[in-house]
Protein backbone atom coordinates (compact mmCIF):
# COMPACT_ATOMS: atom_id res chain seq x y z
CA UNK A 1 0.00 0.00 0.00
CA UNK A 2 1.05 3.55 -0.70
CA UNK A 3 2.13 5.76 2.09
CA UNK A 4 -0.90 7.81 3.09
CA UNK A 5 1.20 10.88 3.96
CA UNK A 6 2.69 11.20 0.46
CA UNK A 7 -0.62 10.83 -1.28
CA UNK A 8 -2.37 13.58 -3.18
CA UNK A 9 -5.92 14.30 -2.06
CA UNK A 10 -8.21 11.62 -3.48
CA UNK A 11 -9.79 12.70 -6.74
CA UNK A 12 -12.99 11.15 -8.13
CA UNK A 13 -10.93 9.37 -10.80
CA UNK A 14 -8.86 7.58 -8.22
CA UNK A 15 -11.96 6.48 -6.34
CA UNK A 16 -13.31 4.95 -9.53
CA UNK A 17 -10.07 3.07 -10.15
CA UNK A 18 -10.24 1.59 -6.69
CA UNK A 19 -13.83 0.48 -7.19
CA UNK A 20 -12.97 -1.16 -10.49
CA UNK A 21 -10.73 -3.58 -8.67
CA UNK A 22 -13.57 -5.02 -6.62
CA UNK A 23 -15.38 -6.83 -9.41
CA UNK A 24 -16.79 -7.10 -12.91
CA UNK A 25 -19.34 -4.36 -12.44
CA UNK A 26 -18.07 -2.05 -15.13
CA UNK A 27 -17.90 -4.48 -18.07
CA UNK A 28 -21.28 -5.97 -17.15
CA UNK A 29 -22.77 -2.52 -17.05
CA UNK A 30 -21.47 -1.88 -20.55
CA UNK A 31 -22.77 -5.18 -21.94
CA UNK A 32 -26.27 -4.50 -20.67
CA UNK A 33 -26.18 -0.80 -21.57
CA UNK A 34 -26.99 0.05 -17.99
CA UNK A 35 -30.33 -1.69 -17.96
CA UNK A 36 -31.71 -2.95 -14.68
CA UNK A 37 -32.63 -6.58 -14.02
CA UNK A 38 -36.11 -7.64 -15.11
CA UNK A 39 -38.56 -8.50 -12.28
CA UNK A 40 -37.62 -11.74 -10.49
CA UNK A 41 -40.35 -13.85 -12.09
CA UNK A 42 -39.30 -12.90 -15.62
CA UNK A 43 -36.61 -14.96 -17.31
CA UNK A 44 -36.03 -17.13 -14.27
CA UNK A 45 -33.62 -20.09 -14.45
CA UNK A 46 -36.18 -22.39 -16.02
CA UNK A 47 -37.90 -20.02 -18.43
CA UNK A 48 -37.54 -21.53 -21.91
CA UNK A 49 -36.56 -19.34 -24.84
CA UNK A 50 -35.98 -19.65 -28.58
CA UNK A 51 -35.38 -17.08 -31.31
CA UNK A 52 -38.19 -16.18 -33.67
CA UNK A 53 -37.62 -17.29 -37.24
CA UNK A 54 -36.81 -13.83 -38.56
CA UNK A 55 -34.78 -12.81 -35.49
CA UNK A 56 -31.39 -13.27 -37.19
CA UNK A 57 -32.10 -10.19 -39.28
CA UNK A 58 -32.11 -8.03 -36.16
CA UNK A 59 -29.61 -5.21 -36.32
CA UNK A 60 -27.78 -3.24 -33.68
CA UNK A 61 -27.23 -6.09 -31.31
CA UNK A 62 -24.21 -6.13 -29.02
CA UNK A 63 -21.81 -9.05 -29.60
CA UNK A 64 -23.10 -10.65 -26.39
CA UNK A 65 -26.74 -10.29 -27.43
CA UNK A 66 -25.84 -11.71 -30.84
CA UNK A 67 -24.19 -14.75 -29.25
CA UNK A 68 -27.29 -15.37 -27.13
CA UNK A 69 -29.59 -15.02 -30.13
CA UNK A 70 -27.43 -17.36 -32.25
CA UNK A 71 -27.43 -19.94 -29.44
CA UNK A 72 -31.22 -20.11 -29.27
CA UNK A 73 -31.77 -19.83 -33.03
CA UNK A 74 -32.26 -23.58 -33.55
CA UNK A 75 -34.39 -24.58 -30.60
CA UNK A 76 -35.52 -24.06 -27.03
CA UNK A 77 -33.11 -23.74 -24.12
CA UNK A 78 -33.66 -22.66 -20.53
CA UNK A 79 -32.30 -19.31 -19.35
CA UNK A 80 -29.86 -21.24 -17.12
CA UNK A 81 -28.55 -23.17 -20.14
CA UNK A 82 -28.09 -19.95 -22.11
CA UNK A 83 -25.97 -18.64 -19.23
CA UNK A 84 -24.07 -21.93 -19.01
CA UNK A 85 -23.21 -22.14 -22.70
CA UNK A 86 -22.35 -18.45 -23.19
CA UNK A 87 -20.43 -18.17 -19.89
CA UNK A 88 -22.20 -14.89 -19.27
CA UNK A 89 -23.42 -14.17 -15.73
CA UNK A 90 -27.07 -15.08 -15.26
CA UNK A 91 -28.07 -11.48 -14.52
CA UNK A 92 -26.58 -10.29 -17.80
CA UNK A 93 -28.34 -13.04 -19.73
CA UNK A 94 -31.66 -12.11 -18.13
CA UNK A 95 -31.26 -8.45 -19.07
CA UNK A 96 -30.25 -9.28 -22.64
CA UNK A 97 -33.22 -11.64 -23.04
CA UNK A 98 -35.62 -9.01 -21.69
CA UNK A 99 -34.29 -6.54 -24.26
CA UNK A 100 -34.68 -9.08 -27.04
CA UNK A 101 -38.22 -9.88 -26.01
CA UNK A 102 -39.06 -6.18 -26.18
CA UNK A 103 -37.65 -6.15 -29.70
CA UNK A 104 -39.94 -9.09 -30.53
CA UNK A 105 -37.06 -11.48 -31.24
CA UNK A 106 -38.00 -14.31 -28.86
CA UNK A 107 -40.59 -16.94 -28.13
CA UNK A 108 -40.83 -17.40 -24.35
CA UNK A 109 -42.34 -20.29 -22.38
CA UNK A 110 -42.69 -19.61 -18.69
CA UNK A 111 -41.97 -22.37 -16.16
CA UNK A 112 -44.57 -24.24 -14.16
CA UNK A 113 -45.99 -24.20 -11.60
CA UNK A 114 -46.96 -20.56 -11.69
CA UNK A 115 -48.93 -21.05 -8.48
CA UNK A 116 -47.34 -21.47 -5.06
CA UNK A 117 -47.85 -25.22 -4.97
CA UNK A 118 -47.43 -27.80 -7.71
CA UNK A 119 -50.59 -29.77 -8.43
CA UNK A 120 -51.05 -33.52 -8.31
CA UNK A 121 -51.21 -33.91 -12.07
CA UNK A 122 -47.85 -32.21 -12.53
CA UNK A 123 -46.14 -34.22 -9.77
CA UNK A 124 -47.64 -37.38 -11.16
CA UNK A 125 -46.19 -36.59 -14.59
CA UNK A 126 -42.76 -35.96 -13.01
CA UNK A 127 -42.94 -39.27 -11.11
CA UNK A 128 -44.01 -41.23 -14.17
CA UNK A 129 -41.27 -39.60 -16.23
CA UNK A 130 -38.59 -40.53 -13.69
CA UNK A 131 -39.85 -44.10 -13.40
CA UNK A 132 -40.01 -44.57 -17.16
CA UNK A 133 -36.59 -43.08 -17.68
CA UNK A 134 -34.81 -45.06 -15.01
CA UNK A 135 -36.93 -48.19 -15.05
CA UNK A 136 -37.60 -47.93 -11.35
Amino acid sequence: MRDEADQEPVTPDEVDLDLELTGDLVPLFVITKGRALPPAHQFSHTTLVTAKKDAHAARQLSPEARSVLDLVADGYLSVAEVAGYTHLPLGVVRILLAQMEESDLLVVRNPVPSAERPDRELLSAVLDGLKTRFGA
Partner: protein, 186 residues
Protein backbone atom coordinates in the same frame (compact mmCIF):
# COMPACT_ATOMS: atom_id res chain seq x y z
CA UNK B 1 -28.52 -29.89 -26.87
CA UNK B 2 -31.92 -28.35 -27.60
CA UNK B 3 -35.14 -29.29 -25.90
CA UNK B 4 -37.84 -31.17 -27.71
CA UNK B 5 -39.83 -28.47 -29.55
CA UNK B 6 -43.02 -29.65 -27.82
CA UNK B 7 -41.62 -29.16 -24.31
CA UNK B 8 -43.98 -26.69 -22.73
CA UNK B 9 -43.50 -27.40 -19.05
CA UNK B 10 -40.24 -26.85 -17.20
CA UNK B 11 -39.98 -27.78 -13.52
CA UNK B 12 -37.08 -27.74 -11.09
CA UNK B 13 -35.86 -29.59 -8.05
CA UNK B 14 -33.02 -28.32 -5.87
CA UNK B 15 -30.17 -30.62 -4.89
CA UNK B 16 -28.95 -29.11 -1.66
CA UNK B 17 -26.08 -29.79 0.68
CA UNK B 18 -22.83 -28.53 2.15
CA UNK B 19 -19.59 -28.27 0.22
CA UNK B 20 -18.26 -31.66 -0.86
CA UNK B 21 -21.38 -33.66 -0.06
CA UNK B 22 -21.83 -34.81 -3.67
CA UNK B 23 -24.29 -32.37 -5.26
CA UNK B 24 -22.37 -32.10 -8.52
CA UNK B 25 -21.74 -35.85 -8.68
CA UNK B 26 -25.44 -36.51 -8.14
CA UNK B 27 -26.45 -34.14 -10.93
CA UNK B 28 -23.77 -35.56 -13.24
CA UNK B 29 -24.96 -39.12 -12.70
CA UNK B 30 -28.52 -38.45 -13.91
CA UNK B 31 -28.38 -35.38 -16.16
CA UNK B 32 -28.93 -35.96 -19.90
CA UNK B 33 -26.63 -33.06 -20.70
CA UNK B 34 -23.09 -32.51 -19.50
CA UNK B 35 -23.72 -30.52 -16.29
CA UNK B 36 -23.45 -26.78 -16.87
CA UNK B 37 -22.68 -23.88 -14.55
CA UNK B 38 -24.35 -20.57 -14.05
CA UNK B 39 -22.49 -17.68 -12.57
CA UNK B 40 -24.59 -15.45 -10.39
CA UNK B 41 -23.76 -12.16 -8.80
CA UNK B 42 -24.75 -11.92 -5.18
CA UNK B 43 -24.34 -9.05 -2.81
CA UNK B 44 -23.42 -9.70 0.78
CA UNK B 45 -22.45 -7.74 3.84
CA UNK B 46 -18.75 -7.05 3.99
CA UNK B 47 -18.54 -8.38 7.53
CA UNK B 48 -15.86 -10.96 7.83
CA UNK B 49 -13.71 -9.39 5.15
CA UNK B 50 -10.27 -8.41 6.33
CA UNK B 51 -10.15 -4.75 5.53
CA UNK B 52 -13.39 -3.27 6.80
CA UNK B 53 -12.13 0.29 6.57
CA UNK B 54 -11.83 0.18 2.79
CA UNK B 55 -14.78 -1.96 1.73
CA UNK B 56 -18.29 -0.65 1.24
CA UNK B 57 -21.16 -2.07 3.32
CA UNK B 58 -22.01 -4.57 0.63
CA UNK B 59 -19.73 -6.40 -1.73
CA UNK B 60 -20.60 -8.29 -4.88
CA UNK B 61 -19.29 -11.79 -5.35
CA UNK B 62 -19.88 -14.39 -8.00
CA UNK B 63 -21.26 -17.81 -7.11
CA UNK B 64 -20.99 -20.69 -9.55
CA UNK B 65 -23.78 -23.23 -9.50
CA UNK B 66 -24.02 -26.58 -11.28
CA UNK B 67 -27.18 -27.80 -12.89
CA UNK B 68 -28.42 -30.59 -15.09
CA UNK B 69 -31.45 -31.51 -17.18
CA UNK B 70 -33.78 -34.48 -17.57
CA UNK B 71 -36.45 -34.67 -20.25
CA UNK B 72 -39.34 -36.58 -18.68
CA UNK B 73 -41.83 -36.63 -21.54
CA UNK B 74 -42.52 -34.86 -24.83
CA UNK B 75 -43.89 -31.90 -22.96
CA UNK B 76 -42.08 -31.97 -19.62
CA UNK B 77 -38.48 -31.20 -18.64
CA UNK B 78 -36.93 -31.29 -15.17
CA UNK B 79 -33.96 -29.16 -14.16
CA UNK B 80 -31.79 -30.07 -11.18
CA UNK B 81 -29.94 -27.23 -9.48
CA UNK B 82 -27.06 -27.89 -7.11
CA UNK B 83 -27.62 -25.21 -4.53
CA UNK B 84 -24.86 -24.26 -2.09
CA UNK B 85 -26.05 -24.35 1.50
CA UNK B 86 -24.46 -21.26 2.97
CA UNK B 87 -26.61 -18.64 4.61
CA UNK B 88 -24.84 -15.94 2.62
CA UNK B 89 -26.30 -17.27 -0.63
CA UNK B 90 -29.87 -16.69 0.46
CA UNK B 91 -30.42 -14.19 -2.34
CA UNK B 92 -29.88 -17.04 -4.78
CA UNK B 93 -32.14 -19.27 -2.71
CA UNK B 94 -34.94 -16.79 -3.12
CA UNK B 95 -34.93 -17.03 -6.89
CA UNK B 96 -34.22 -20.77 -7.00
CA UNK B 97 -36.86 -21.79 -4.47
CA UNK B 98 -39.58 -19.84 -6.28
CA UNK B 99 -41.61 -22.46 -8.11
CA UNK B 100 -39.31 -25.35 -7.11
CA UNK B 101 -41.14 -28.65 -6.60
CA UNK B 102 -38.97 -29.52 -3.61
CA UNK B 103 -35.44 -30.25 -2.47
CA UNK B 104 -33.27 -33.33 -2.14
CA UNK B 105 -30.98 -32.63 0.81
CA UNK B 106 -27.76 -34.64 0.59
CA UNK B 107 -26.01 -35.33 3.87
CA UNK B 108 -22.70 -36.91 4.83
CA UNK B 109 -23.31 -39.13 7.90
CA UNK B 110 -19.84 -38.23 9.21
CA UNK B 111 -20.55 -34.50 9.01
CA UNK B 112 -24.19 -34.26 10.05
CA UNK B 113 -23.61 -31.11 12.08
CA UNK B 114 -22.89 -29.25 8.83
CA UNK B 115 -26.39 -30.00 7.60
CA UNK B 116 -28.31 -28.19 10.34
CA UNK B 117 -27.96 -24.74 8.79
CA UNK B 118 -28.97 -26.19 5.44
CA UNK B 119 -32.16 -27.68 6.83
CA UNK B 120 -32.89 -24.27 8.38
CA UNK B 121 -32.63 -22.64 4.95
CA UNK B 122 -34.74 -25.31 3.24
CA UNK B 123 -37.46 -24.92 5.84
CA UNK B 124 -37.32 -21.13 5.84
CA UNK B 125 -37.93 -21.09 2.09
CA UNK B 126 -40.87 -23.44 2.51
CA UNK B 127 -39.41 -26.30 0.48
CA UNK B 128 -40.66 -29.83 1.03
CA UNK B 129 -37.66 -32.17 1.16
CA UNK B 130 -36.28 -35.67 1.44
CA UNK B 131 -32.89 -36.60 2.89
CA UNK B 132 -30.36 -38.55 0.83
CA UNK B 133 -27.63 -40.05 3.01
CA UNK B 134 -24.69 -40.27 0.65
CA UNK B 135 -22.46 -43.29 0.89
CA UNK B 136 -18.82 -42.35 0.51
CA UNK B 137 -15.92 -44.57 -0.50
CA UNK B 138 -14.81 -46.85 2.30
CA UNK B 139 -17.75 -46.11 4.55
CA UNK B 140 -20.35 -48.62 5.59
CA UNK B 141 -24.06 -47.99 5.47
CA UNK B 142 -25.06 -45.71 8.26
CA UNK B 143 -28.15 -46.52 10.34
CA UNK B 144 -30.80 -44.23 8.84
CA UNK B 145 -32.67 -44.02 12.14
CA UNK B 146 -29.62 -42.43 13.71
CA UNK B 147 -29.48 -39.84 10.95
CA UNK B 148 -33.16 -39.10 11.42
CA UNK B 149 -32.67 -38.67 15.13
CA UNK B 150 -29.50 -36.59 14.85
CA UNK B 151 -31.12 -34.21 12.35
CA UNK B 152 -34.32 -34.07 14.40
CA UNK B 153 -36.48 -34.77 11.34
CA UNK B 154 -40.24 -34.90 11.20
CA UNK B 155 -41.57 -38.46 11.16
CA UNK B 156 -42.91 -38.11 7.60
CA UNK B 157 -39.65 -36.82 6.10
CA UNK B 158 -38.15 -39.62 3.97
CA UNK B 159 -34.54 -40.64 4.63
CA UNK B 160 -32.89 -42.78 1.95
CA UNK B 161 -29.39 -44.15 1.60
CA UNK B 162 -27.86 -43.38 -1.76
CA UNK B 163 -24.63 -43.49 -3.70
CA UNK B 164 -24.72 -40.38 -5.83
CA UNK B 165 -22.12 -41.80 -8.24
CA UNK B 166 -24.69 -44.38 -9.26
CA UNK B 167 -27.41 -43.29 -11.67
CA UNK B 168 -30.06 -45.69 -10.39
CA UNK B 169 -29.35 -44.74 -6.80
CA UNK B 170 -29.58 -41.00 -7.50
CA UNK B 171 -32.77 -41.54 -9.49
CA UNK B 172 -34.29 -43.57 -6.66
CA UNK B 173 -33.59 -40.73 -4.21
CA UNK B 174 -35.36 -38.30 -6.56
CA UNK B 175 -38.30 -40.67 -6.96
CA UNK B 176 -38.58 -40.92 -3.17
CA UNK B 177 -38.69 -37.12 -2.99
CA UNK B 178 -41.41 -36.80 -5.64
CA UNK B 179 -43.51 -39.53 -3.98
CA UNK B 180 -43.19 -37.59 -0.73
CA UNK B 181 -44.21 -34.36 -2.49
CA UNK B 182 -47.38 -36.10 -3.64
CA UNK B 183 -48.28 -37.25 -0.14
CA UNK B 184 -47.86 -33.71 1.23
CA UNK B 185 -50.54 -32.46 -1.17
CA UNK B 186 -53.03 -34.15 1.11
Amino acid sequence: MYLDPDVSHAVKILIVGHFGVGKTTCIGSISEIEPLQTEEEITEASEGFDDLSRTPDKVTTTVAMDFGRLTLSESLVLYLFGTPGQERFKEMWESLSRGALGALVLVDPERLQESFSILDLVERFGLTYAIGVNRFDGTTDYPLDEVREALNLAAETPVVACDVRDQQSSAQALITLVQHLMTTLG
